[in-house]
Symmetry: C2
Subunit: 121 residues, 2 copies
Amino acid sequence: MEKNKIKLPECSLHEIHHDTVMRVGESLPADETTYDLSDFFKLLGDSTRLRILFAIDREPLCVCDIAETLSMTKSAVSHQLKVLRQSDLVRYRREGKNVIYSLADDHVRDIIEKALEHINE
Amino acid sequence: MEKNKIKLPECSLHEIHHDTVMRVGESLPADETTYDLSDFFKLLGDSTRLRILFAIDREPLCVCDIAETLSMTKSAVSHQLKVLRQSDLVRYRREGKNVIYSLADDHVRDIIEKALEHINE
DNA sequence: TTAATAGTTGAACGGTTGTTCAACTGTTTG
DNA sequence: CAAACAGTTGAACAACCGTTCAACTATTAA
C-alpha cells in the first residue's frame, strides 16, 4: 500500500542530475513552438488526411473526386478538408459547382518525402 | 427530410471525372505505406513525446531526469517512452538503477527540423 | 535481508477526434 | 421558378489516446 507522505519532485536530492535537468530544460524549445509543432504533425498523423494530400498532390481535385478516389463520403472528406484549410495545408478555388483543392505548400511534400525515406529504413 | 432512395457512388455518371479518379487512384501509395506513415506522424503529433525527443536529443537522460525536466510523473514519461521504444525512435541502456534513453535515429531530427522551418514560415 | 530509489505496467477515467447522419447553402440547368 | 448536383456544417456516437493511480519489478546500499 501507498504510504502517506509528501511527494517531492523526484531526483531532487541528486545534485549531479539537478544540473543536468537545468541544462537540458533551458535548451528546450518554447512551449508554444512545441505545441505548434505537435499540432502540425497531428495533421499528418491521420491516414485519411494523408491520402487526401497525396491525391491532390498528383493534381488538383474537386471534393467529389477526392471522395470517390478514397471511397469515402463527401461529408467525411469535407470535414478533413476544413481542417487542412484552417492549417493552410491546402488551397481551394470554386469552379462552377465544384470546389477544387490543391496542395498549398512544398514544405509538406518534402516532409512527407523524408518520412517515407525513414519508414523504408 | 431525407428521401428514401438508393445511394449510388457520387460523381459516378461523370465520365471525365471518372478518368481522373482512376488516374489519381492508381498513383496513390499502398494502403500499408499510408498507415505506416500516419502512424509515424502520430508519434510526433504529441507535445509530450516531442519534448522527450528534444530533451534526449541534447543528451542521453534517465527517466527520472526526463520527468523532472518536463515536470511530469515518471509513470507518464515511461508510458510515452514505451511507445517511442516500440517504434524504434529511441534507444535505451541500463546503468545501475537508471535507464538511459537517447535518440535512435538521425532521420527524426531532420524531419523535426524541416517541420520547424515550415511552421516558422 | 530489508529499505530506498528507479522504472514499468495494467486498469480506469476523461478528453479528443474521425465518421455518420441529416439538414443546410451555393451553383447551374431546365 | 424548381430540380439536381456539389459542398459544408453541427450534433451525436464510438473509438482512440494520454494521464493518473496503485501496484509491481529491478538494482543498489545498509
